[in-house]
Symmetry: C2
Subunit: 485 residues, 2 copies
């Protein structure tokens, strides 16, 4: 890289203490923060705001999930009045469910446009973690998320330079922000590891309010070890994939995969290491790079990986940090509006694998709200991939709480992914291929192949009773409500 | 046009009677038919199949809605076993709801890929209406729909040349089928009226089984005259649009609009003629060209229109046919995978306006199934535009059946458009702007601004009772089921 940045600071910068910078954020500011996959988010500023003792009513908009300095500390300080588009801490979730934080849950791909052009908010200040900064540019750290759009959209900018994040991270970034509609051009990406930008996010130098220093590490992920169910799901998915590879010329030479964030996604990525891809190049085109993908890369089983964040465990992060430039040959981080772009997912013919809280017998998936009401985290990017993948797979264990509750239910009372979007359901029990099926056929496939044996009788009973009511998607609503999910 | 086609037939063609061609379609064939917006579909072949007296179990896949020769005659002959992705006749609907036809309802944008690469079906024969045909090309008639993908995907091809459709229709066509994934390139369309292909759909000459002649007209649309409610919805939408035009630079010089098919969509297009666009170029980037758009064009209020079908009334069709080449300066028809492409909708910053059967107080819309069960038509392209528009508007009257039933309901029991997709609800009562609102705030907006006064008390009562149950999206499921929708 000829234009490689070797120093963390360039030019005349308005260096400040976090407390002083925090004073410049209004009590009711609309704050756009970097961060996705709980990494790459600002830490010192949010803590300074949380500790300020001020009566804050902030609107906090992130790209995706952020760490405890925001969604725990600021929440506990009662500083967040509004929060978009995702949250993932117990503290934020509680206030969201008590309607003490007004939370709007959005598809992450379009959030940059919604903020900048769509009227979602009127942004005051962007607070962005960086590994380096100049007078009119910054280099993101462990995630890109919606940082380019946020920096463009906000009136002012505060940059946090994190000395704990290696400067070498610049090697993995490919920053490209599409132009404003209606004269936006197609995103010119033809190869998953292609580069259409560089490492720098540019900004109007007049915006730069302060540069703050920190050395706090990311709130990295902790994944559980793969369970027997995870492994059975991975095996079932592997069998399905083996058949798919034979089915269409699209998968003849290359196979593009995406896995959602989380322990199951991580386990699936890890288990794929044993799958026979019969000489095909396997490419990850998704949103998060998790430890399982590093394993695949280290084992030479993965051609390359494109995502918007390095959502690794602490150990995974250390592994990456020790050889960022080596990994950068095969890893590219992009803004979320590129990593999750509908057309790119379509262009590459991605097989998308995402999980859900529950799936109903007609193939509607709920990934955000228990019994239609209680928010968990948010839809994140799962809708982007479920809608636009060539084959969209919903992978989940058939039960939860030690088998007490079925994740296959008569009716999803919250639908994040409609019957028009999902192609295949995989549980540890088996695979339901829903392509070309009517709802009644879908129910038969899903109950027979995916439900846990201990819930099959009750599901069949519901289905038979529902069919008595008639209709294309037979339901007995009163009975559906009585289902103990 | 230098390569303009002046004769309906070119080269050595396997001309056949419809009966003879129908004999070459297997009893259980997977048949891909042209047609979208109930125009441009084959007529003689389906009638010959319906009259054959054979015991047929066809799978019929269209781009969108087709006319009575398919969805009435073939249905009444019990010839259709499976039907994708849309149907819109009373006869088809009845069999779909009795599960005598296995119907799978899909987003129309991705149907071409699902057929050709996604494993939805294993296609045998494409039957395509054309205005002209050669040994390895055809020119579509009044719609393009998914014809290019269908012709590529099917083993065999039967072309119906319709002498009732003017040869001049070639002037409006821009046929571009994206390459196969994963080496698909971005769709190179930068202007809504740009041309990236030509009028011809190419095919492998070995596929051509027969060329049949017909002169049956399309089953054109009949729209009701705009009602007072339609006009009030149009006025409310107009007020909203006037504010939006001031809000963002995206709408400063050009405004891209899309309206869904149907009487309300047609009425909205027609009523916009009176709106003050303050010198902006107004562009239609959508799926259907209806009579209202011709009015806008004739009045010089519309810059241009891009769609996949001319879904006009008989009178509108005559108006167009009398001056196809004149209209072709401002009208382009594209394959549905281009007209409804996610990235193009995004590129142009479209304001999408689609209707629904009902919307719940938290902003989930149902456009396909009454009480979660009874199919009406299908999701069509509404999901494509609701998901990808910069601002997505759901426009509907607040009641149906003369005010007896509220279209604003406590809970949608079928969700086609999730809370993550819709931005604004418009009824004849007013406008609910949902952007940046939490579900509880949404309920307040929707009940207050959009519900009919006669249902407001019951909706407020539901909402208050639901809030007692707590949660981010408060629901009282038992009560929701008792709501008389």
């Amino acid at each position: 890289m000829s234009d490689r940045v070797t120093e963390r600071y360039a030019g005349e910068l308005p260096m400040a203490e976090a407390d002083d910078a925090a004073d410049r954020v209004a009590d009711d500011a609309v704050v756009l923060v970097s961060g996705f996959g709980s990494v790459g988010y600002p830490k010192a500023l949010p803590l300074a705001l949380a500790d300020s003792g001020r009566d804050l009513e902030l609107t906090v908009v992130s790209g995706g999930s952020v760490g405890e300095e925001i969604d725990t500390a600021l929440v506990e300080a009662d500083a967040i009045a509004r929060r978009y588009p995702y949250q993932s801490t117990p503290e934020a979730r509680e206030k969201v469910n008590n309607n003490e934080i007004a939370f709007s849950d959005r598809n992450v791909s379009s959030l940059g446009d919604e903020v900048q052009y769509g009227g979602l908010v009127d942004p005051d200040v962007a607070i962005v973690e960086a590994v380096a900064v100049g007078e009119d540019w910054l280099i993101p750290s462990t995630s890109i998320g919606q940082t380019p759009a946020f920096v463009d959209a906000a009136e002012k900018l505060i940059v946090e330079v994190n000395h704990n994040q290696p400067l070498e991270l610049q090697a993995v970034h490919d920053v490209y922000r599409p132009d404003a509609p209606p004269n936006r051009e197609p995103i010119p990406l033809s190869e998953p590891d292609g580069r259409i930008g560089d490492a720098k996010v540019r900004f109007d130098p007049e915006k730069l309010l302060a540069v703050v220093e920190t050395d706090r590490p990311d709130s990295t992920y902790t994944f559980r070890d793969p369970t027997d169910d995870d492994r059975a799901i991975a095996r079932n998915f592997g069998s399905f994939l083996a058949e798919e590879m034979e089915r269409t010329p699209v998968f003849e030479e290359e196979l593009y995969l995406q896995f959602g964030v989380g322990s199951l996604g991580n386990a699936l990525m890890g288990e794929l290491i044993d799958l026979d891809f019969a000489g095909r190049d396997v490419v990850y085109f998704g949103e998060v790079i998790q430890d399982g993908l590093l394993d695949m890369l280290d084992a030479g089983r993965l051609e390359c990986a494109s995502a918007t964040t390095l959502a690794l465990t602490e150990e995974g992060q250390q592994r990456l940090f020790e050889d960022v430039e080596g990994y950068a040959e095969d890893i590219v981080l992009r803004p979320t509006d590129v990593s999750n772009d509908a057309r790119l997912i379509n262009q590459f013919g991605v097989v998308g694998v995402n999980s859900a809280i529950e799936v109903d017998i007609y193939g509607h998936a709920n990934s955000t709200h228990v019994r239609g009401s209680k928010a968990i985290n948010g839809v994140g990017g799962s809708g982007d991939f479920n809608r636009n993948s060539l084959v969209s797979v919903c992978a989940l264990p058939s039960t939860l709480k030690g088998g007490e509750i079925s994740r296959i239910v008569p009716m999803s009372f919250h639908v994040d992914h409609t019957e028009h979007d999902l192609d295949v359901i995989v549980t540890e029990q088996g695979v339901a291929d829903l392509r070309g099926t009517s709802p009644v056929e879908r129910a038969e496939e899903i109950i027979e192949n995916c439900a846990h044996p201990s819930f099959k009788p009750a599901l069949w009973e519901y289905f038979e009773a529902a069919k008595e009511q008639g209709g294309h998607i037979p339901h007995d609503l009163k009975r559906a409500v009585e289902w103990p999910n």
